[in-house]
């Protein structure tokens, strides 16, 4: 490899190359192995869509909170203790009976880590990045969501440092549910805007349960 003229290294075996790089950086003193473990632990086990689900459930339950969330999402999300890396500048966009929002990053794979964790492979994939802006309805159909023609679809391409949270519509028949129960209906995909919130058990979900 030392004779390579390429400025970019093209790893043939990423696992071996990462292992070698990590051990080199640790031996040089540049990296603290325990810091790496802490970073992995955070994104593998602590941060994830359950954070965003709490934000959405609060917004469904508390109109004043929803108003704050839509006006200044970073501050409203911080009220629940979430924020920081890749969530420094948050924007919340609300689905309504006439408007459906979905989020993409066509240029790389920007994603709101503090409320959704790290992005799934499909979100980072060339098919989603290329097609979400030109064929949102086709993409949604492939992901199992068919929206009526009269519904306006707004695709948010996060080209800057703003990170988007879609506030899905609250499902019918959830008036009696607690905030904790509501949070269980809010999926990662609903907060990216490629799915709707789940229907509560016993209401509307019969098709899948019978099928």
């Amino acid at each position: 490899m030392s004779h390579s003229h390429d400025k970019q290294r093209l790893p043939s075996e990423p696992a071996l190359r990462v292992m070698a790089l990590e051990s080199l950086l640790i031996e040089k003193g540049l990296v603290d192995r325990e810091a790496l473990d802490a970073l992995v632990e955070t994104y593998e086990h602590k941060v994830g869509p359950h954070n965003g689900a709490k934000v959405v459930a609060r917004a469904w339950k508390d109109p004043a909170y929803k108003a704050r969330l839509l006006a200044d999402a970073t501050a409203a999300i911080a009220e629940l203790g979430f924020g920081g890396l890749q969530g420094e500048h948050m924007v919340a966009v609300e689905n309504t009976p006439t408007v459906h929002n979905m989020v993409v990053c066509t240029l790389c794979s920007c994603y709101p880590y503090p409320i959704l964790g790290l992005p799934p492979v499909w979100y980072k994939s060339a098919p989603y990045r290329s097609r979400a802006v030109i064929d949102p309805r086709g993409v949604l159909r492939e992901l199992g969501l068919e929206l009526p023609e009269r519904m306006e679809i707004r695709v948010w391409d996060s080209t800057a440092e703003l990170r988007y949270l879609v506030v899905p519509r609250r499902p019918a028949g959830t008036e009696e549910l607690t905030e904790e129960q509501l949070a269980l209906l809010v999926t990662r995909d609903a907060m990216i805007g490629v799915a709707l919130a789940r229907a509560p058990k016993g209401a509307g979900a019969c098709a899948t349960e019978i099928g």
């Binding site: 810091a35 240029l107 994939s125 990045r129 695709v155």
Partner: protein, 219 residues
Amino acid sequence: MNGVHDMGGMHGMGAVRPESGEPVFHHRWEARVFALARAMGAFGRWNIDASRHQRELIPAAEYLRMSYYEKWLTGLTGLLLKHGLITEEELASGKPTPGRAKEQPALPAAMVAGFIARGVPASRSSSRPPRFRPGQPVRARNLNPLGHTRLPRYVRGKAGTIDRVQGVFVLPDTHAHFQGEHPQHVYSVRFEARELWGGDAAPRDAVYVDLWEEYLDAA
């Protein structure tokens, strides 16, 4: 640069294939390279725009072949070499240059939680009023820089409307090349789907793109 990373509107990439029960990382090395990139970024030798640009420099065919974290590994290795944190010889041998004093990590374990909680804000305070206001018609400039930009090809030359003023942010076009922050207003601009894609697009649909002030002209 007009690279293959600028994918919005391209055809031929195939179907979107979600994976049920997907793990956060599919392999241990993905988790390690994710963490290594964060730990080495903490030295402040480069910034988020420079690291995005480094991945854009991956040759197009390789970019399309590589997985997400392979691109991270390639980008990180390139940055470490470019900024002198490792040498070609060290990379080849896997061993530090003999006789060099041991360095100190920029991100010790005790600082990880604080680093994640603080993040790296890209907004800047500015008393300069925004040039555009919500509702105002604008047109994205037709710029084709050889360097880094966050003005996607599919909106260049297209007419849109300012939806909201998002605040003042570091300009990636200069920041990625260590030519200063040049902070300026960022706007969410609404482009009608038919303006972008022609008459076959759904009549009500729209794409919102976050654009820096110097990407825009009044229309």
